[in-house]
Amino acid sequence: MSTISGSDSSAGAQSSGNGFVVDVWINLKRWIVKTTRNPFVVVSSLVQPIIFLVLFTEVFGGVVGGALSEALGPGVTYVTYLTPAIIIQSALVAAAGSGIGLVDDMESGMFEKVLVSPINRVAMFLGKALSEVVRIVVQTLIILALGYVLVWLDTGGNVGTYIETGIVGAIGIIGVAIVFAIWFTAFSNIVALATRDQESTIIGANLLQFPLLFVSSAFIPIRNLPEWVQVVATYNPITYGVDAVRALMLGQDVLSVIEITTFSGIWNTLVPALTVLIALDFLLGGIAVYYLNRASSSGVR
């Protein structure tokens, strides 16, 4: 009897319930449901971009117009110039919310509940991260559509080419938004894990967001900004995110904080910008993974 139960128990130890993909899906699903129920999310991914895009184009459009044609040539409207910035801003907001969700889970006990369940721990975090990706994809598509509507209204229905690089470019824009969001998602989770406090996490992520946006190439061409802002913008990741999206949108090399001419056309923007962002993703992602490991491995392993 004892030998039989002994072999039984070792067989039981091998089975790990669901398998990795299912575990990821379970967590992804939970976070997507939570996201759609959160009014803050709906406001920040829908209402806020609309307000910014409409107000900024109406208020600054006329003033910036001249600077735009000077920097990028005629035919670039402020809407098409600004849409990339709003896409990056919304990605930033979504990323900032990631850590808040994590602290929420810790405070509600759900974090521990998942740790004590057979769910794979990597799948637990991956599922949550993917829910943020889904959110970014959806809101990027919405903002692109919104920008189109504004151009359509501006031009009286004669839009011409909206995204210079076409469908591939549109997919590329979503890709850049995701690559861009990773470092800030990691940052917000690091703050969350280090403070384990909701308010600190909200403040930590949001405090950075606005100043960073303004001292970048987001709203006005870099060369029209004061000298010191230009210096800060060179070291500001937002510049690289916005310029990468903008290069795909406008079909030209828009990165002006560092001059790269090794490649051709938009690749002179995309290659350096993505290199910077991916490096940041790995750096902050690594730190976040270290913190997550520490927070969840108080048990065995």
Partner: protein
């Protein structure tokens, strides 16, 4: 078979706090086991090592036949755990909460709907199944938490102070569920600071103090350790001076062959085999000593008396706040 076989568990946090010094627990399948102790005695830390959330710094633990350190995954699959703090996702509905737990524990899809309905029925939440949990009362949330811990019909369930902070009605209702589950064959490991809860539910219990188990037995056997009945005497002026005098009278009167005398809030209490017979004589002796008695009562011993006799202080009294906070912390890095 043994549900839990833990020998000499020891857990010292990285800051040097020794939350659990030496805990040995042996629980047969099907038992309703109680783990009783004041705040900070090491209850939560012990339970967290049993459910694989904390790694013990010493000792051997087997849960459902699996080693918690070598086979944590198998342990996690075979247990249900309800944390001290209610752990549900308030943004999800009751049904979604149970569904998430079903998915997490790999309840087969074909059985899921039925299982969810059955569990919501069990905890009386079927009527509000599709309401978001945020709107629930504390008791309802707790009951939902119970349901999520039972999705996979685990043979062993850990309940960490499941009724703390609930009103008496909600508490009695939860007791019924727990008793139900246990009658269906589930082993239950319950921690509590409520003596009447342990008395009501448990087949056997251990009393833990300062990280060490100080007594293990059935509630009745523990009560009989107190030795006889308890005589409570209320004094008109229960100051230190009068109670000390009253205790001396009770000891020196030669009325009780054996027994213990303690100070209480109202006066003194005497636990003795002869409490009933010698009670009136003690009242006379107190009157002769000019101590005014305002009330007296002879009753059977409760676990409170056991607790007092074993640990030297009443249950619920804070033993070591720091240790509780430490053990409640999620991270709980261990050395």
């Amino acid at each position: 078979m043994t549900a839990i076989d833990a020998r000499h568990i020891e857990l010292t946090y990285s800051d040097g706090t020794q939350a659990v010094e030496d805990v040995t627990i042996d629980i047969p399948e099907g038992e309703f086991f109680g783990f009783l102790g004041p705040n900070g005695a090491g209850k939560t830390t012990t339970i967290k090592t049993l459910v694989t959330l904390l790694q013990p710094t010493g000792g051997d633990i087997t849960v459902n036949g699996y080693d918690v350190e070598a086979q944590p995954q198998a342990v996690r699959e075979s247990i249900g755990y309800m944390a001290q703090e209610t752990s549900i996702d308030e943004e999800l509905t009751a049904r979604e909460n149970v569904q998430f737990a079903c998915e997490a524990y790999g309840v087969p899809k074909a059985e899921r709907t039925e299982r969810i309905d059955e569990l919501l029925e069990l905890v009386d939440l079927a009527g509000v199944a599709d309401k978001v949990a945020k709107e629930f009362s504390g008791g309802m949330k707790k009951r939902l938490d119970v349901a999520t811990a039972l999705v996979h019909s685990p043979p062993l369930v850990f309940l960490d102070e499941p009724t703390t902070g609930l009103d008496p009605k909600a508490r009695i209702r939860l007791w019924e569920y727990f008793r139900n589950i246990n009658e269906q064959g589930t082993t239950v490991f319950l921690t509590t600071q409520y003596l009447e809860e342990a008395d009501e539910l448990c087949d056997r219990l251990s009393v833990i103090q300062d990280g060490t188990i100080v007594a293990t037995d059935s509630p009745d056997a523990l009560k009989s350790q107190v030795g006889g009945d308890v005589l409570e005497i209320a004094l008109v002026d229960p100051t230190d001076e009068t109670t000390t005098r009253a205790r001396r009278v009770a000891r020196d009167a030669g009325l009780f062959e054996e027994g213990t005398v303690e100070t209480t809030d109202q006066g003194i209490s005497v636990a003795s085999e002869r409490a009933r017979q010698a009670g009136p004589d003690l009242l006379v002796a107190l009157r002769d000593a000019d101590i005014t008695v305002t009330g007296f009562d002879v009753r059977s011993p409760t676990l409170d008396d056991v607790f007092l006799a074993i640990t030297g202080h009443p249950a619920g009294e804070q033993a070591d706040d720091e240790a509780t906070e430490r053990s409640a912390e999620l991270e709980g890095e261990v050395q």
